[in-house]
Protein backbone atom coordinates (compact mmCIF):
# COMPACT_ATOMS: atom_id res chain seq x y z
CA UNK A 1 0.00 0.00 0.00
CA UNK A 2 2.80 2.38 0.90
CA UNK A 3 4.61 1.25 -2.22
CA UNK A 4 1.79 2.17 -4.58
CA UNK A 5 0.05 5.09 -2.92
CA UNK A 6 2.74 6.66 -0.77
CA UNK A 7 2.55 8.05 2.71
CA UNK A 8 -0.38 10.29 1.88
CA UNK A 9 -2.57 7.19 1.93
CA UNK A 10 -1.28 5.96 5.26
CA UNK A 11 -4.44 6.30 7.36
CA UNK A 12 -5.40 4.52 10.53
CA UNK A 13 -8.24 2.75 8.77
CA UNK A 14 -6.02 1.66 5.89
CA UNK A 15 -3.47 0.21 8.28
CA UNK A 16 -6.19 -1.49 10.29
CA UNK A 17 -7.76 -2.96 7.16
CA UNK A 18 -4.38 -4.23 5.97
CA UNK A 19 -3.98 -6.26 9.14
CA UNK A 20 -7.64 -7.30 9.38
CA UNK A 21 -8.12 -5.40 12.59
CA UNK A 22 -9.98 -2.37 13.82
CA UNK A 23 -8.85 1.16 14.42
CA UNK A 24 -9.49 0.47 18.10
CA UNK A 25 -6.55 -1.91 18.13
CA UNK A 26 -4.26 0.77 16.76
CA UNK A 27 -5.44 3.41 19.20
CA UNK A 28 -5.04 0.90 21.97
CA UNK A 29 -1.34 0.53 21.26
CA UNK A 30 -0.49 3.99 19.95
CA UNK A 31 -1.43 7.27 21.57
CA UNK A 32 -1.82 8.97 18.19
CA UNK A 33 -0.98 8.75 14.54
CA UNK A 34 2.45 10.31 14.84
CA UNK A 35 3.50 7.56 17.22
CA UNK A 36 2.22 4.97 14.80
CA UNK A 37 4.10 6.60 11.95
CA UNK A 38 7.24 6.81 14.03
CA UNK A 39 7.31 3.14 14.99
CA UNK A 40 6.37 2.23 11.42
CA UNK A 41 9.49 3.98 10.17
CA UNK A 42 11.46 2.42 13.00
CA UNK A 43 10.33 -1.05 11.97
CA UNK A 44 11.06 -0.25 8.34
CA UNK A 45 14.59 0.83 9.21
CA UNK A 46 15.12 -2.19 11.41
CA UNK A 47 13.91 -4.49 8.67
CA UNK A 48 16.31 -2.83 6.23
CA UNK A 49 19.22 -3.37 8.56
CA UNK A 50 18.40 -6.96 9.36
CA UNK A 51 17.55 -8.11 5.88
CA UNK A 52 19.76 -10.75 4.31
CA UNK A 53 22.78 -9.08 2.84
CA UNK A 54 25.49 -10.09 0.45
CA UNK A 55 27.93 -11.30 3.05
CA UNK A 56 30.94 -11.35 0.85
CA UNK A 57 34.09 -12.29 2.74
CA UNK A 58 35.77 -9.13 1.59
CA UNK A 59 37.44 -6.13 3.07
CA UNK A 60 38.34 -2.64 2.02
CA UNK A 61 37.18 -1.35 -1.32
CA UNK A 62 35.39 -4.58 -2.23
CA UNK A 63 33.47 -4.45 1.03
CA UNK A 64 32.49 -0.85 0.32
CA UNK A 65 31.24 -1.91 -3.09
CA UNK A 66 29.20 -4.72 -1.54
CA UNK A 67 27.66 -2.39 1.02
CA UNK A 68 26.65 0.09 -1.65
CA UNK A 69 25.24 -2.63 -3.88
CA UNK A 70 23.01 -3.63 -0.98
CA UNK A 71 21.47 -0.17 -1.02
CA UNK A 72 20.74 0.19 -4.73
CA UNK A 73 17.34 -0.85 -6.12
CA UNK A 74 18.73 -3.71 -8.18
CA UNK A 75 15.75 -6.01 -7.58
CA UNK A 76 12.00 -5.31 -7.53
CA UNK A 77 11.94 -5.96 -3.79
CA UNK A 78 14.74 -3.52 -3.16
CA UNK A 79 13.06 -1.02 -5.45
CA UNK A 80 9.84 -1.29 -3.43
CA UNK A 81 11.70 -0.84 -0.16
CA UNK A 82 13.64 2.10 -1.54
CA UNK A 83 10.46 3.64 -2.83
CA UNK A 84 8.86 3.56 0.58
CA UNK A 85 11.99 5.03 2.00
CA UNK A 86 12.13 7.92 -0.45
CA UNK A 87 8.44 8.56 0.13
CA UNK A 88 9.06 8.80 3.85
CA UNK A 89 11.27 11.82 3.29
CA UNK A 90 8.18 13.98 2.87
CA UNK A 91 6.66 13.23 6.26
CA UNK A 92 10.09 13.07 7.86
CA UNK A 93 11.11 16.54 6.69
CA UNK A 94 7.80 17.92 7.96
CA UNK A 95 8.32 16.55 11.47
CA UNK A 96 11.49 17.54 13.40
CA UNK A 97 11.45 14.36 15.46
CA UNK A 98 11.15 12.11 12.44
CA UNK A 99 13.78 14.17 10.65
CA UNK A 100 16.16 13.68 13.55
CA UNK A 101 15.51 9.94 13.46
CA UNK A 102 16.33 9.84 9.78
CA UNK A 103 19.41 11.99 10.21
CA UNK A 104 20.66 9.60 12.88
CA UNK A 105 20.08 6.59 10.68
CA UNK A 106 22.00 8.11 7.79
CA UNK A 107 24.80 9.13 10.08
CA UNK A 108 25.16 5.61 11.41
CA UNK A 109 25.06 4.26 7.87
CA UNK A 110 27.85 6.64 6.96
CA UNK A 111 29.87 5.45 9.91
CA UNK A 112 29.49 1.87 8.76
CA UNK A 113 30.69 2.87 5.30
CA UNK A 114 33.57 4.78 6.85
CA UNK A 115 34.89 1.55 8.34
CA UNK A 116 35.28 0.08 4.89
CA UNK A 117 36.65 3.32 3.51
CA UNK A 118 39.29 3.42 6.22
CA UNK A 119 40.27 -0.18 5.50
CA UNK A 120 40.50 0.60 1.80
CA UNK A 121 42.69 3.59 2.54
CA UNK A 122 44.96 1.46 4.68
CA UNK A 123 45.25 -1.01 1.84
CA UNK A 124 46.08 1.74 -0.61
CA UNK A 125 42.83 1.21 -2.51
CA UNK A 126 41.55 4.72 -1.88
CA UNK A 127 43.37 8.06 -1.72
CA UNK A 128 44.30 9.34 1.70
CA UNK A 129 44.28 12.92 0.53
CA UNK A 130 40.54 13.03 1.18
CA UNK A 131 39.29 12.47 4.74
CA UNK A 132 37.70 9.12 5.52
CA UNK A 133 34.41 10.71 6.55
CA UNK A 134 34.30 12.76 3.39
CA UNK A 135 34.83 9.72 1.22
CA UNK A 136 32.12 7.87 3.12
CA UNK A 137 29.75 10.81 2.75
CA UNK A 138 30.49 10.97 -0.96
CA UNK A 139 29.82 7.27 -1.30
CA UNK A 140 26.52 7.50 0.54
CA UNK A 141 25.49 10.54 -1.44
CA UNK A 142 26.29 8.84 -4.70
CA UNK A 143 24.22 5.80 -3.71
CA UNK A 144 21.29 7.87 -2.49
CA UNK A 145 21.19 9.91 -5.67
CA UNK A 146 21.40 6.81 -7.80
CA UNK A 147 18.44 5.37 -5.88
CA UNK A 148 16.32 8.40 -6.68
CA UNK A 149 17.30 8.38 -10.33
CA UNK A 150 16.58 4.68 -10.67
CA UNK A 151 13.18 4.98 -8.99
CA UNK A 152 11.99 7.67 -11.36
CA UNK A 153 13.54 6.23 -14.51
CA UNK A 154 13.84 2.46 -14.01
CA UNK A 155 14.11 1.95 -17.77
CA UNK A 156 17.13 4.24 -17.99
CA UNK A 157 18.74 2.78 -14.89
CA UNK A 158 18.52 -1.00 -15.04
CA UNK A 159 20.53 -3.03 -12.56
CA UNK A 160 23.51 -3.44 -14.89
CA UNK A 161 23.84 0.27 -15.46
CA UNK A 162 23.58 1.05 -11.77
CA UNK A 163 26.37 -1.43 -11.12
CA UNK A 164 28.45 -0.01 -13.95
CA UNK A 165 28.01 3.54 -12.68
CA UNK A 166 29.06 2.44 -9.23
CA UNK A 167 32.05 0.50 -10.51
CA UNK A 168 33.22 3.36 -12.69
CA UNK A 169 32.92 5.66 -9.74
CA UNK A 170 34.89 3.34 -7.47
CA UNK A 171 37.50 2.71 -10.15
CA UNK A 172 38.12 6.42 -10.52
CA UNK A 173 38.65 6.85 -6.81
CA UNK A 174 40.90 3.85 -6.79
CA UNK A 175 42.97 5.19 -9.65
CA UNK A 176 43.74 8.18 -7.44
CA UNK A 177 44.94 5.93 -4.63
CA UNK A 178 48.62 5.64 -3.73
CA UNK A 179 48.60 1.83 -3.59
CA UNK A 180 49.51 -0.46 -6.46
CA UNK A 181 46.49 -0.29 -8.71
CA UNK A 182 46.14 -3.10 -11.19
CA UNK A 183 44.16 -1.92 -14.20
CA UNK A 184 43.73 -4.35 -17.08
CA UNK A 185 46.17 -2.44 -19.28
CA UNK A 186 48.31 -0.22 -17.17
CA UNK A 187 51.02 1.94 -18.61
CA UNK A 188 53.57 1.12 -16.00
CA UNK A 189 56.55 3.46 -16.17
Amino acid sequence: MLVTRGFGALTLRAVAAEMDASTGLLTHYFPNKRALLRTALEILAQRSEERPRRTAPTEGLAALRTALLDVLPLTPESAAANRIWVSSWDVALADPELAADHAGRYRRSRERLAVHVAAAQRRGELPTTTATEDLAAAAQGFALGLVVQALFAPAEFPAERQIKLLDDWLATWRSAAPGPANPPAADSG
Copy 2:
Protein backbone atom coordinates in the same frame (compact mmCIF):
# COMPACT_ATOMS: atom_id res chain seq x y z
CA MET B 1 3.83 26.21 3.89
CA LEU B 2 5.15 23.42 1.71
CA VAL B 3 8.57 24.04 3.17
CA THR B 4 7.47 23.51 6.76
CA ARG B 5 4.62 21.04 6.54
CA GLY B 6 5.29 19.11 3.37
CA PHE B 7 2.92 17.98 0.67
CA GLY B 8 0.66 16.24 3.14
CA ALA B 9 -0.58 19.68 4.18
CA LEU B 10 -1.19 20.86 0.63
CA THR B 11 -4.98 21.17 0.72
CA LEU B 12 -7.25 23.28 -1.44
CA ARG B 13 -8.20 25.36 1.56
CA ALA B 14 -4.57 25.93 2.54
CA VAL B 15 -3.70 27.06 -0.97
CA ALA B 16 -6.77 29.27 -1.14
CA ALA B 17 -5.98 30.84 2.22
CA GLU B 18 -2.39 31.50 1.18
CA MET B 19 -3.59 33.57 -1.77
CA ASP B 20 -6.50 35.18 0.08
CA ALA B 21 -9.01 33.52 -2.16
CA SER B 22 -11.73 30.93 -1.96
CA THR B 23 -11.67 27.27 -2.83
CA GLY B 24 -14.18 28.16 -5.54
CA LEU B 25 -11.46 30.06 -7.40
CA LEU B 26 -9.23 27.01 -7.41
CA THR B 27 -11.95 24.66 -8.59
CA HIS B 28 -12.85 27.20 -11.22
CA TYR B 29 -9.43 26.95 -12.78
CA PHE B 30 -8.57 23.33 -12.01
CA PRO B 31 -10.83 20.33 -12.64
CA ASN B 32 -9.52 18.58 -9.51
CA LYS B 33 -6.74 18.51 -6.99
CA ARG B 34 -4.41 16.40 -9.08
CA ALA B 35 -4.46 19.02 -11.81
CA LEU B 36 -3.66 21.69 -9.25
CA LEU B 37 -0.82 19.63 -7.90
CA ARG B 38 0.50 19.00 -11.36
CA THR B 39 0.64 22.63 -12.39
CA ALA B 40 2.06 23.53 -9.01
CA LEU B 41 4.97 21.20 -9.63
CA GLU B 42 5.24 22.52 -13.15
CA ILE B 43 5.52 26.08 -11.88
CA LEU B 44 8.03 24.99 -9.26
CA ALA B 45 10.20 23.33 -11.90
CA GLN B 46 9.92 26.32 -14.19
CA ARG B 47 10.89 28.65 -11.39
CA SER B 48 13.91 26.48 -10.64
CA GLU B 49 15.01 26.61 -14.23
CA GLU B 50 14.54 30.33 -14.65
CA ARG B 51 16.00 31.45 -11.37
CA PRO B 52 19.13 33.59 -11.47
CA ARG B 53 22.12 31.33 -11.86
CA ARG B 54 25.82 31.74 -11.49
CA THR B 55 26.53 32.64 -15.07
CA ALA B 56 30.21 32.06 -14.95
CA PRO B 57 31.81 32.51 -18.36
CA THR B 58 33.27 29.04 -18.15
CA GLU B 59 33.25 25.89 -20.19
CA GLY B 60 33.97 22.24 -19.65
CA LEU B 61 34.68 20.98 -16.15
CA ALA B 62 34.33 24.43 -14.58
CA ALA B 63 30.91 24.81 -16.15
CA LEU B 64 29.90 21.40 -14.82
CA ARG B 65 31.00 22.46 -11.38
CA THR B 66 28.99 25.66 -11.65
CA ALA B 67 25.89 23.80 -12.74
CA LEU B 68 26.15 21.38 -9.83
CA LEU B 69 26.76 24.17 -7.35
CA ASP B 70 23.50 25.70 -8.54
CA VAL B 71 21.69 22.56 -7.43
CA LEU B 72 23.13 22.15 -3.95
CA PRO B 73 21.36 23.68 -0.94
CA LEU B 74 24.15 26.14 -0.18
CA THR B 75 21.82 28.96 0.88
CA PRO B 76 18.66 28.92 3.00
CA GLU B 77 16.59 29.77 -0.08
CA SER B 78 18.07 26.92 -2.04
CA ALA B 79 17.57 24.63 0.94
CA ALA B 80 13.88 25.56 1.07
CA ALA B 81 13.45 24.96 -2.62
CA ASN B 82 15.28 21.65 -2.44
CA ARG B 83 13.17 20.63 0.51
CA ILE B 84 9.97 21.20 -1.39
CA TRP B 85 11.42 19.28 -4.26
CA VAL B 86 12.42 16.28 -2.16
CA SER B 87 9.01 16.33 -0.51
CA SER B 88 7.35 16.18 -3.90
CA TRP B 89 8.92 12.79 -4.53
CA ASP B 90 6.28 11.18 -2.31
CA VAL B 91 3.27 12.38 -4.28
CA ALA B 92 5.16 12.02 -7.54
CA LEU B 93 6.03 8.37 -6.96
CA ALA B 94 2.40 7.66 -6.05
CA ASP B 95 1.09 9.10 -9.33
CA PRO B 96 2.37 7.69 -12.63
CA GLU B 97 1.73 10.92 -14.50
CA LEU B 98 3.60 13.03 -11.97
CA ALA B 99 6.38 10.44 -11.87
CA ALA B 100 6.73 10.66 -15.63
CA ASP B 101 6.91 14.45 -15.39
CA HIS B 102 9.67 14.22 -12.84
CA ALA B 103 11.53 11.59 -14.82
CA GLY B 104 11.44 13.87 -17.86
CA ARG B 105 12.74 16.79 -15.89
CA TYR B 106 15.66 14.82 -14.52
CA ARG B 107 16.44 13.44 -17.93
CA ARG B 108 16.58 16.93 -19.43
CA SER B 109 18.73 18.08 -16.54
CA ARG B 110 21.08 15.19 -17.23
CA GLU B 111 21.25 16.19 -20.88
CA ARG B 112 22.22 19.72 -19.92
CA LEU B 113 24.96 18.32 -17.69
CA ALA B 114 26.08 16.04 -20.49
CA VAL B 115 26.87 19.06 -22.65
CA HIS B 116 29.39 20.25 -20.11
CA VAL B 117 30.71 16.74 -19.57
CA ALA B 118 31.27 16.36 -23.29
CA ALA B 119 33.09 19.68 -23.45
CA ALA B 120 35.24 18.67 -20.51
CA GLN B 121 36.06 15.39 -22.19
CA ARG B 122 37.05 17.22 -25.36
CA ARG B 123 39.32 19.44 -23.33
CA GLY B 124 40.89 16.47 -21.63
CA GLU B 125 39.46 17.45 -18.27
CA LEU B 126 37.47 14.25 -17.85
CA PRO B 127 38.25 10.67 -18.84
CA THR B 128 36.83 9.42 -22.11
CA THR B 129 36.86 5.83 -20.94
CA THR B 130 33.45 6.40 -19.34
CA ALA B 131 30.53 7.36 -21.57
CA THR B 132 29.40 10.98 -21.50
CA GLU B 133 25.88 10.04 -20.41
CA ASP B 134 27.24 7.88 -17.62
CA LEU B 135 29.43 10.65 -16.32
CA ALA B 136 26.48 13.04 -16.45
CA ALA B 137 24.28 10.54 -14.62
CA ALA B 138 26.94 10.05 -11.96
CA ALA B 139 27.24 13.79 -11.51
CA GLN B 140 23.51 14.24 -11.15
CA GLY B 141 23.26 11.31 -8.77
CA PHE B 142 26.06 12.67 -6.64
CA ALA B 143 24.36 16.07 -6.44
CA LEU B 144 20.95 14.60 -5.67
CA GLY B 145 22.31 12.44 -2.89
CA LEU B 146 24.23 15.33 -1.43
CA VAL B 147 21.02 17.37 -1.41
CA VAL B 148 19.23 14.72 0.62
CA GLN B 149 22.10 14.37 3.07
CA ALA B 150 22.35 18.12 3.55
CA LEU B 151 18.62 18.51 4.10
CA PHE B 152 18.51 15.94 6.88
CA ALA B 153 21.81 16.94 8.51
CA PRO B 154 22.43 20.60 7.71
CA ALA B 155 24.87 20.86 10.62
CA GLU B 156 27.02 18.07 9.22
CA PHE B 157 26.83 19.38 5.68
CA PRO B 158 27.39 23.14 5.71
CA ALA B 159 27.96 24.90 2.42
CA GLU B 160 31.76 24.68 2.63
CA ARG B 161 31.71 20.93 3.11
CA GLN B 162 29.26 20.41 0.26
CA ILE B 163 31.57 22.40 -1.99
CA LYS B 164 34.60 20.48 -0.76
CA LEU B 165 32.91 17.15 -1.36
CA LEU B 166 31.99 18.24 -4.85
CA ASP B 167 35.46 19.57 -5.60
CA ASP B 168 37.16 16.44 -4.31
CA TRP B 169 34.89 14.38 -6.45
CA LEU B 170 35.56 16.46 -9.56
CA ALA B 171 39.29 16.52 -8.87
CA THR B 172 39.37 12.74 -8.72
CA TRP B 173 37.62 12.42 -12.05
CA ARG B 174 39.93 15.01 -13.50
CA SER B 175 42.99 13.17 -12.26
CA ALA B 176 41.82 10.20 -14.30
CA ALA B 177 41.56 12.34 -17.42
CA PRO B 178 44.06 12.03 -20.28
CA GLY B 179 44.62 15.77 -20.58
CA PRO B 180 47.37 17.76 -18.87
CA ALA B 181 46.25 18.03 -15.28
CA ASN B 182 47.80 20.80 -13.26
CA PRO B 183 47.75 19.94 -9.57
CA PRO B 184 49.34 22.45 -7.15
CA ALA B 185 52.29 20.18 -6.40
CA ALA B 186 52.69 17.68 -9.17
CA ASP B 187 55.48 15.15 -9.23
CA SER B 188 56.44 15.77 -12.79
CA GLY B 189 58.76 13.09 -14.14
